[in-house]
């Protein structure tokens, strides 16, 4: 479990770059910078793609505005958001 938690942040950085075709390496995504409306150039369409990706890959829904604000505050915030809500891995 600890190992999975540790790998979540770089995994999310990789998915962010790949899903949105960002012209940067996953390592260079600042985990504490705002995800939306800042340097990454992520727009509302990109956000929709991320919402569905997070639902598909982690079973976590971002289905209201407050959840969106919390989840997309930064990559680190997104990782925390997912950790707190993802369904326990089935045995």
């Amino acid at each position: 479990m600890t190992q999975a938690t540790d790998s979540l942040l770089p995994e999310l950085a990789r998915k962010l770059v790949e899903t949105l075709g960002l012209d940067m390496s996953p390592e260079s995504v600042d985990p504490n910078a705002p995800l939306i409306g800042a340097g990454l150039g992520i727009d509302s369409i990109d956000t929709l793609e991320l919402v569905v990706m997070i639902d598909r890959d982690y079973g976590v829904k971002i289905d209201n505005r407050a959840a969106g604000v919390e989840a997309f505050a930064s990559l680190a915030a997104l990782a925390n958001f997912i950790r707190e809500r993802r369904p326990a891995a089935s045995a």
Partner: protein
């Protein structure tokens, strides 16, 4: 040249024969084949179709990479139809040196089309939905929306005139050019971005062409070892088409527009016709195909003996090629001009095939050659002068291009090399 006649300004294509148009033309003249192993999805041991004509578009191989193909631009456009089409349109516009000004934009139409579109996106989404209950990504529907390619081309170019998708199965590319001509001839546009793209190497489509006995299936070890010998239009041993990918764009303009911009086009789309078979869902029909050819020649205002060569539809099926042979004799009697079947080299790129073949026709008229129909063995039931080695034919003033599609839709074009 009358003012409203459609002229051809520039073109580009990608196909199983390569990514650079000049390279594809060189390989075509050399009698090469673009057919190889099918690798777009994992083949099962019993998969009936095992070869294809694939476009190997590695963005890293394209230098410099146009802005429209950057990963960020393409992030939501997973279906290859978008990469292929954006590339050929970008290149054709660059070759013509045309930028759409605010005055020109509303006078510019898009008729660039597709037969199958981004169906691969639907299939992928369906598999994830069924297997894992995973919802589709938000851009799945836009990827598969059949007129989205034309919409994306309008965004890329800035064209704000009529924007239509001319889906007519395997005649789609020719129909796109015919509809471009129609808009120009009726004064509805001065410029049209025509062409077509297809990515039919989607598992159920490929296997569907197999079960309906349309696509070539290897039967012997020799077949498996030599994919380049599988596509055999008009040949005694023809056994169906080889499914290919491809895209091609041609810019069509009014002669007035060309003149006003100081352009000196080498070709015009001198005539065209369309007909419906009203006969059978997939089998071609001799009478309506013959009529389509005859009407296209008539609309060019020429006599039938002015046609120097034929670029055939030549699907490579038993019935399709036989019916085209019969219809050609109905139109030209015993004097059918030399016939070329480019699917022998490129495979069958579905909706894109007829526009790719149109571009090969134009290059042949320019170079004074007729392309070979490779893998040919004479069929005693087919009485055509099928060109089997690249043949010099210097004076090709007019050439007829045939295209026939499922649904019994036929489009014939007459290209004219301007003096």
């Amino acid at each position: 040249m009358s003012a409203s006649r459609p002229v051809l300004l520039a073109w580009d294509g990608v196909s199983s024969m390569g990514l650079e148009w000049s390279e594809q033309w060189r390989r075509a003249k050399a009698g090469e084949s673009g057919i190889g192993p099918l690798t777009r999805f994992p083949l099962r041991p019993e998969s009936p179709v095992r070869i294809a004509g694939q476009v190997n578009l590695d963005p890293e191989a394209i230098q410099p990479l146009p802005a429209c193909l950057r990963p960020r631009e393409m992030a939501h456009w997973k279906s290859p139809v978008f990469r292929y089409s954006m590339l050929v349109v970008h290149r054709a516009m660059a070759k013509a040196g045309i930028t759409l000004t605010p005055e020109l934009a509303p006078r510019t139409a898009v008729t660039f089309s597709t037969a199958i579109g981004g169906l691969d996106a639907v299939v992928d989404a369906d598999r994830s939905l069924v297997a894992k209950g995973a919802p589709p990504l938000p851009y799945m529907n836009p990827n598969s929306c059949v007129n989205m390619i034309a919409g994306k081309i309008a965004i890329l170019s800035g064209a704000t005139g009529p924007c239509i998708t001319t889906v007519t199965a395997c005649a789609t590319g020719s129909t796109s050019m015919a509809m471009a001509a129609l808009l120009i001839e009726t004064g509805r546009a001065d410029l049209a971005i025509a062409g077509a793209v297809d990515f039919p190497l989607v598992e159920p489509i490929v296997e569907g062409f197999s079960t309906m006995n349309g696509a070539f299936k290897p039967k012997t070890e020799e077949d498996a070892l030599h994919p380049e010998k599988a596509s055999r239009p008009f040949s005694l041993d023809r056994r169906g088409f080889v499914i290919s990918e491809g895209a091609a764009c041609v810019l069509v303009a009014s002669a007035d527009f060309a003149k006003a911009h100081g352009l000196h086009p080498e070709f015009e789309l001198a005539g065209w016709s369309m007909s419906a078979d009203a006969h059978h869902p997939v089998a071609p029909h001799r009478a309506t195909i013959a009529r389509c050819m005859a009407e296209s020649i008539e609309s060019a205002g020429i006599r039938r003996n002015a046609i120097a060569a034929i670029n055939a539809h030549a699907s490579s099926t038993r019935v399709g090629d036989k019916v085209e042979d019969e219809a050609l004799h109905d139109v030209f009697g015993d004097a059918v001009p030399p016939v070329s079947a480019n699917k022998s080299q490129f495979g069958h790129a579905m909706g894109a095939a007829s526009v790719l073949e149109s571009l090969l026709t134009l290059e042949g008229m320019r170079d004074g050659v007729v392309l070979p129909t490779i893998n040919f063995t004479r069929d005693p039931d087919i009485h055509l002068d099928v060109v089997t080695e690249t043949r010099a034919l210097p004076s090709q003033e007019y050439v007829l291009k045939n295209a026939f599609g499922f649904g019994g839709t036929n489009t014939c074009l007459i290209f004219h090399r301007l003096a």
